[in-house]
């Protein structure tokens, strides 16, 4: 047993140390952006690199919001065949960075002045021990509400700015026989709403101590119970068939006027645009009521895997291309997110995009930019999923709010 | 030393010995039949001769050369299997020449050998067919052809006729005998059918329970069975085994038996030496053909004894009529002429040819 363990350890050590398989002058990029728009946007990056004589070996693995890609990454690293660059989110980057698997990008970062243009909250996920290890592509903000303007107008509802206004609007719609909230019952979608609800209920400090510091007192507080009660309210005002629905089908309900609101990240905009809808005319986007000043975000980044010693030329070129203002603008216009650097011109963006950029800059300046728990930017994967478990169990009626709070404290302590 | 020598051969599977110290020696040109009920070890012995099963102890030699550890294909033997074991994917011709091909015989020679064998067995017209399209008898011929073409030192037959219907079996039996007479090759032949054993063999080894019970010519086996097993296994209907007591009457040994209705009868033995066993309980063995109606009794016999007993059943078989009666509590079959007028329930005279009687010890079941 011990000898076997040692043998396998030696094996893993040996392969982990060997260099990746991508050939010189080529980057192998593992990512999960496979749907039309985003893949096309990524193609811009590919062409940019090819213009510099660097080949792009594409390695797309879609599924589960990157979970599938992370599984593959695990296998690739174990096999000693790590890709050059990997699309990653929040804590995954830090975890891999702590394993010593990522390359040091400080040189490029210094040359290009990343420190000045990337918001601190984002930097926290791009640096390990003071070293840049990944290049942020975008910032998604997740506390958006999307609404069908025609439906709101019909029932004389204006954009709600507080929880009370929101509940009033919802109940009015319900009474009128309109489904107030479109939702897809998948754990991450439940958690996306939960993020916003907690932020709105307890305010940013509470959000921080509960989700980022994982303070047991905050997790077990009455405020948290209040947040769960609000989740129950939302649960009561989604349609019956919400369970298991893909988010974009929920978006379609808003587009088609079958429902009034959807709480979803900024990527939902693509669906509206794709359906030929115009922001401000056909649909509205606004922050979740009570979180007008805050932005909860998640950011896609490309982490560079150590190819032995120093960062390779190709990786540097890729990183620099990702953070170039032109790519940041071109990509984020398509994706619906906002650029990761704050100095990009907002010219090419539509109303929602411009608003997103303003909000981000303001939140970054005022310290109101928080990592999203639901999207792995507040705590590590184990904790995140433990919270998912409780939120989704509660949302589906398995726990009442009281139980949910105790379960939450318990689940987080096991996962920590 | 014979042509084929089986010396003190045993076979064990793990701790279980299934074949106990077999010693058989066969001369060149002999037709040795191993006969016995299923599970008696005869097929195991054949497989050991073929080299398909390992010999646990002892030695098997052909032409004086030990065969222990020699690969089956190097023993210069050929075998005909019960199921014929024709390769289903090959034509008849390919089946016949496969062995030659494996032994590296050039094609023209193979063709020649094949056509010789085919004409010998009259299967020329079947050469291009697949075994699946042949009748049982045709398959049998092809299987023999496959063995013949090798021109082996020893032919091994493993119950080759048991899958044929009764008529074909008799025909093929004759054919095999003819073939043996024509080729004169040594044959070891396994069967559970005692008629095949009697008709084909020059010598028979009767086996049971892993032992060779008796080895001898067909006549020896039939007339002089060494024990109760051989006596009852060989012959059809099998030998009558009647409990009797040896009694001395007028200085001569007699067999005292019980008849229907509480009567007894005493039959004089032809062998005066049995007087030594006077007073003993024995098994009196008499073949059905040695119990007849008085007119049908063997004229050459010097000792015909007659007794009267009630008939239980009569079974006309065309050429003969088998008559069943009860002697000493045992069912006893007599073979009478076809036109004998006997009816069930009637008392009839039975003529017993005591020259043919044999006596066994009921305890050891051995001959006295």
């Amino acid at each position: 047993m011990t000898r076997l363990g040692l043998g396998l350890r030696a094996t893993v050590a040996a392969v982990a140390l060997s260099a990746g398989a991508a050939q010189a002058n080529e980057v192998e990029v593992l990512h999960w952006w496979t749907s039309g728009g985003e893949a096309a946007a990524l193609n811009v990056l590919k062409q940019d690199l090819e213009g510099q004589g660097i080949g792009w070996q594409d390695m797309p693995v879609a599924g589960g919001g990157g979970e599938q890609a992370m599984t593959v990454l695990r296998a690739r690293v174990t096999a000693g065949d790590a890709p050059t660059a990997v699309q990653m989110l929040g804590f995954d980057i830090l975890d891999w960075g702590n394993q010593g698997a990522l390359a040091d990008l400080n040189e490029v970062a210094a040359r290009e002045g990343w420190d000045e243009v990337v918001p601190d909250a984002l930097k926290a996920f791009a640096q390990v021990d003071g070293k840049w290890v990944s290049a942020p592509v975008n910032v998604h903000s997740t506390n958006w509400v999307w609404a069908n303007k025609a439906v709101l107008d019909e029932h004389g509802i204006s954009v709600p700015t507080t929880w009370e206004e929101f509940t009033a609007a919802v109940e009015k719609l319900d009474a009128a026989g309109v489904t107030p909230i479109a939702h897809g019952g998948q754990a991450w979608q439940d958690a996306t709403i939960f993020d916003a609800v907690v932020m709105s209920t307890g305010g940013p400090d509470f959000y921080e101590s509960a989700f980022i510091d994982l303070d047991e007192e905050a997790l077990g507080s009455d405020t948290m119970k209040e947040a769960f009660d609000r989740m129950s309210f939302i649960r009561e005002h989604v349609d019956e068939n919400f369970s298991g629905r893909d988010w974009n089908l929920a978006t379609a309900m808003v587009i088609n006027g079958e429902a009034a609101f959807q709480m979803m990240g900024d990527w939902a905009k693509g669906e509206f645009l794709n359906a030929g809808k115009v922001p401000g005319e056909d649909f509205l986007c606004f922050r979740f009521p009570g979180t007008q000043d805050q932005v909860t975000f998640n950011a896609d980044q490309f982490a560079m895997f150590d190819q032995g010693g120093t960062v390779s030329e190709e990786q540097a070129a890729l990183a620099s291309a990702i953070l170039s203002p032109s790519f940041q603008s071109a990509f984020n216009v398509v994706k619906g997110s906002v650029p990761a650097r704050t100095d990009v011109s907002n010219e090419a963006f539509d109303d929602c995009g411009k608003k997103g950029m303003e909000d981000l800059a303001a939140a970054a300046a005022s310290g109101n930019l928080y990592g999203s728990m639901a999207h792995g930017h507040a705590n590590p994967a184990a904790v995140k999923n433990a919270i998912y478990d409780v939120v989704t169990a509660h949302f589906n009626g398995e726990y009442d709010s009281e139980t949910a709070v105790t379960e939450l404290v318990d689940a987080v302590s096991i996962a920590k | 030393m014979g042509f084929l020598d089986i010396k003190s051969v045993t076979k064990s599977y793990g701790p279980v010995e299934v074949l106990h110290r077999v010693d058989i020696s066969a001369e060149e040109g002999e037709f040795l039949v191993l006969v016995g009920p299923s599970g008696c070890g005869k097929s195991t012995l054949l497989n050991m001769i073929a080299g398909l099963e390992e010999i646990t102890t002892g030695e098997i030699a052909i032409k004086g050369q030990t065969m222990n550890g020699v690969h089956p294909s190097k023993r210069n033997i050929a075998m005909v299997f019960q199921s014929y074991a024709l390769y289903p994917n090959m034509t008849v011709g390919q089946n016949i020449t496969f062995g030659l091909e494996m032994h590296g015989v050039p094609k023209p020679e193979r063709e020649k050998a094949m056509s010789d064998v085919a004409s010998l067995l009259q299967i020329e017209q079947l050469l291009d067919r697949k075994p699946g399209h042949l009748s049982g008898g045709q398959r049998q011929r092809v299987a023999m052809g496959r063995a013949l073409v090798r021109n082996p030192d020893v032919f091994l037959f493993d119950e080759p006729l048991s899958n044929l219907d009764a008529k074909l079996r008799v025909d093929m039996r004759t054919e095999i005998k003819k073939l043996h007479q024509k080729l004169g090759t040594t044959i070891v032949y396994v069967t559970h059918d005692q008629i095949e054993a009697m008709t084909l063999s020059t010598r028979i080894a009767v086996m049971n329970g892993g032992y060779v019970q008796q080895l001898g010519t067909p006549k020896e086996i039939y007339d002089d069975p060494a024990n109760v097993f051989v006596a009852s296994f060989m012959g059809s209907p099998s030998m009558n085994l009647i409990p009797a007591r040896v009694v001395d009457q007028n200085g001569e040994p007699h067999a005292k038996i019980r008849l229907e209705g509480g009567k007894t009868a005493q039959l004089r033995f032809s062998d005066p030496g049995l007087a030594a066993h006077s007073g003993r309980e024995v098994l009196l063995g008499i073949r059905p053909e040695a119990i007849t109606d008085p007119e049908g009794a063997d004229r050459k016999s010097g000792n015909i004894q007659t007794l009267h007993n009630v008939v239980d059943v009569t079974e006309p078989a065309g050429s003969d009529t088998f008559v069943t009666t009860t002697i000493s509590g045992k069912t006893c079959i007599a073979r009478m002429r076809a036109d004998t007028d006997v009816r069930a329930g009637a008392e009839v005279a039975f003529a017993v040819n005591m020259d043919k009687a044999v006596v066994f010890d009921p305890e050891t079941e051995k001959r006295l």
């Binding site: 999960w32 879609a62 599984t71 296998a75 088609n256 693509g270 994706k335 | 050929a78 299997f81 024709l86």
Partner: protein, 293 residues
């Protein structure tokens, strides 16, 4: 096939027969349902689907989704469609199926015709390999493939699929050869055929039915594997299922369901074809071996 030659001794009345046909047809409908959903939605424009008519026949028929799935859909950064990945799958599946079937046949041959002490235990150990959930072996497999230098290669994938398929193929062939007359092997031995000659000339030509079972089983499993394909193939060499997954799964993009379904049917075509072409031998193969306990 068997139905024609087999004279079932069970007699049934007219009403019973009607009932039987009814039940059989109902089940046929049940089995066809998902295929219907997929087919119907693959030939209508996207707005018809998102408009709510997911179960109804198309108002407007179109082959556009099929063409798109095959040749222009976005799989990674490039709009290549599934086409290039089709050949990746073929070049992985064919050798993997061939090798595992041949190994299974040889193993079955040894385990039934060249028995030795302890062979049943070895067979039992091999069988257990059939039951390992793939998720469990992913990480150690990656380590081993990395050590062997096979990570990210088709050869590595073939190895993986051979390893986890050989238990099944051995099971099939062993059960089949167990009822193959041993006398034929003995006859061939006496005829002077060696180990491989007997296998090649005597057993293999008669192994058609079970080879069909083995090939169908292996082909289906390997073709449909996603986890190993995603983890151990290089980006360009990814098999069809990985490409299909990339086509179908996208968390934050527009979902073109019609293209997804067209792609799904395209990806399943080879296995469907195998079932339809070889399906008639399938029952015969099972009959000849694998269910005879």
């Amino acid at each position: 096939m068997a139905a024609a030659t087999q004279d079932s001794a069970v007699r049934t009345g007219r009403v019973t027969r009607m009932l039987i046909y009814l039940v059989l047809l109902l089940f046929a409908l049940f089995y066809m349902l998902p295929l219907y959903v997929m087919l119907v939605n693959s030939v209508k424009p996207l707005d018809e689907i998102t408009g709510g008519g997911m179960m109804s026949l198309p108002a407007q028929w179109t082959l556009e989704p099929w063409l798109k799935a095959w040749s222009t859909a976005q799989i990674g950064v490039q709009p290549t469609g599934l086409r290039p990945y089709f050949w990746n799958s073929i070049s992985m599946v064919v050798p993997a199926v061939a090798i595992s079937t041949v190994l299974g046949a040889l193993n079955g041959y040894v385990l039934t015709k060249w028995r030795f002490r302890g062979d049943t235990i070895l067979f039992g150990l091999m069988l257990f390999a059939c039951f390992i959930p793939f998720q469990i072996v992913l990480i150690p497999m990656a380590a081993v493939l990395g050590t062997l230098g096979l990570a990210g290669s088709t050869a590595g994938l073939v190895l993986v699929h051979v390893v986890y398929g050989v238990g099944f193929t051995t099971l099939y062939f062993r059960n089949y050869y167990a009822v193959f007359p041993t006398e034929l092997v003995r006859a061939a031995q006496i005829d002077g055929a060696g180990f491989f000659q007997i296998f090649w000339r005597i057993l293999l030509p008669s192994s058609g039915p079970i080879a069909v079972v083995s090939v169908i089983w292996q082909f289906t499993n390997i073709w449909n594997d996603f986890l190993f394909g995603a983890s151990f193939a290089s980006g360009d060499g990814a098999p069809m299922t990985v490409a299909l997954n990339n086509l179908v799964q996208s968390s934050t993009g527009v979902k073109e369901y019609n293209v997804h379904f067209a792609g799904a049917i395209l990806a399943a075509l080879p296995t469907l074809l195998v079932y339809i072409v070889a399906g008639r031998y399938f029952v015969r193969g099972l009959m000849a071996g694998s269910v005879k306990g």
